[in-house]
Subunit: 339 residues, 2 copies
């Protein structure tokens, strides 16, 4: 298999990206994978010189442009034909690679996925999914996390289908429990969108729909997939992120505000880092984009070496599992009422 | 002033409610307030016997029905004419009291507010607001937190107006900064609702609109009021609640999983309780319902004595500040385009 890496995407590109690639190439678990690196010539040259032993599984493609976080994603993607991201997508479209891995602009990545790779047959809207840990030691897939801010019930039905395929193929959870994000667990709770979606999901024979879930249940382990529109997914995800920051910050502050606290803090330090690690998105790789003709893994913009390594690991599993075919089949096997 | 208390509402009613009332009555700060207690005869009788010294500022009204959390709010409110909640609302409508305080069903409370007290002139939709702490030592008002799951841009404009009035009158923050919850800080980010609302809020001369805010900023102190539809407000609030539970739980777990941790845990214990206290909704009283003809404070369903005491304290400030009049004026002074 071949993974196309956007070496120039992300806050710490190109170094952190290339360090992650190095770690990936050095691991025995992925010896069946080759990397297609798209980025500025100098950086790629340096990488090649420093890692001669690995280069038999690396193909470098020098690119002259970079899509920044500050520019309009769609315009930039259309204009910068020789950018590392566009070239990476082109390589997957041309069949030279199976999956794009990028820590670049989410908007540009979405544009590339839909413009270059195009939606899979029957897919109404591609979705960005995020894998999160649960307190029961498992994981939960939240989608959509921001690709579609205004959704119709039919989109949410397909998010459920794609989420199910992902959990079965990539994480190996058979017949995952699907929940719908709402403002109450009762079936009658929700807004116009979720009420209609609830009815439709309840009527889908191939989905194990467990009903509405409240935001507070996100990491409860009560379900394997949580479906919502991209606006709410973003609110939930960033809300959680903010809460974690606030709480750990407050704890530290009050721990270190007293001598007794200082000692406690020092002793408790390992616990803090354990929790931080448990909650760290970097441990869980990137966010897969589901519903397009090819693999796309969006790594966090602030990805470091470890985050990129995990994103590549995830891309590897993705390609091995042939998720795209699986999604294509379940989508075409499921009839969705007009919205 | 007179506060009408629904003694039978909440998980710990009537005892926790009456204990909160006792504490409120015993405080010198509220000697200008009388309480109108609505609840089952036996409980009120016991309270009267045990607190003879306080009864000169207490009026008890025996009621025979209770609205439970499990029944359909609207139906229950319409049917149970002699319930503690309905009678409390009736007393405010009749001018016998100025504000309802209840830890009962939110849905029933909303029904009572709109059916019995009725919307203020010009108010499109009443909103439930929640006051939260910020990391900068201040507080932020989030609304709507669940009264309206499907909103129009005009509703959000009025939430901003009502939120501003609340912060100015009740917390004393002049010309508060108003932000709009969205999936990105840039003006062009958002869904159909927030994009339109953003434009409208930007054009309101009497509002200090600071633009879009992401969910992660909730407690940042970057703004004093955060406006959103009731569905997203619920997701944000409960998501935060869930995150706090998960994080503190994980920390405890890993702290106590090692001897070293155990010691650290014991020493760090005070810090934990400080943070819990800081994040505890009970400290901040209840959630005011804005936009109806009379005061309504919704205390958390699981309210204990302290939560009820704080809800009463909040009701006291509310009535003193004559918020209803202030909201009425700002609403009638602001033209809102048709949705």
């Amino acid at each position: 298999m071949r993974l196309a890496v956007d070496v120039m995407g992300g806050d710490h590109a190109p170094d952190a990206i290339l360090d992650g690639c190095k770690q990936f190439l050095e691991s025995d678990s992925f010896s069946d994978a080759e990397l297609l690196l798209f980025g500025e010539e100098a950086a790629l040259k340096r990488f090649a010189e420093e890692n001669t032993a690995l280069m038999n599984r690396v193909h470098t493609v020098a690119t002259t442009e970079v899509i920044g976080f500050d520019e309009s994603p769609t315009a930039a993607y259309k204009k910068k034909k020789d950018s590392s991201m566009v070239r990476a997508f082109e390589s997957v479209k041309a069949g030279e690679a199976d999956c794009v891995v990028s820590a670049g602009s989410t908007g540009a990545l979405l544009t590339g996925a839909t413009l270059t790779l195009r939606r899979q047959k029957g897919v109404k809207r591609p979705a960005i999914a995020t894998l999160l840990p649960t307190t029961t030691g498992g994981c939960v897939l939240l989608l959509d996390c921001g690709a579609n801010t205004d959704c119709k019930p039919g989109y949410l039905q397909q998010f459920a289908i794609m989420g199910k395929a992902y959990m079965e193929k990539v994480t190996g959870i058979e017949n995952p429990k699907i929940a719908l994000l709402s403002n109450g667990t009762e079936a009658e709770k929700g807004n116009a969108l979720t009420k209609e979606a609830h009815e439709r999901l309840s009527a889908m024979p191939d989905i194990q729909f467990v009903g509405n879930a409240e935001a507070r249940e996100l990491m409860s382990g009560n379900f394997d997939v949580l479906v919502c529109d991209g606006f709410d997914g973003n609110v939930l995800l960033k809300g959680f992120e903010g809460a974690a920051k606030v709480i750990l910050g407050l704890l530290k502050e009050s721990l270190y505000s007293s001598i007794r606290g200082k000692i406690g803090g020092l002793i408790a330090k390992p616990a803090f880092s354990t929790v931080r690690k448990k909650l760290d998105y970097k441990e869980y790789g990137g966010a897969p984009l589901l519903g397009v003709n090819g693999g796309v893994i969006k790594a966090h913009g602030s990805s470091d070496r470890r985050a990129i390594y995990n994103a590549l690991r995830q891309a590897h599993t993705w390609v091995k599992s042939d998720l795209v075919t699986a999604i294509g089949e379940s989508i075409s096997n499921t009839e969705i009422a007009e919205d």
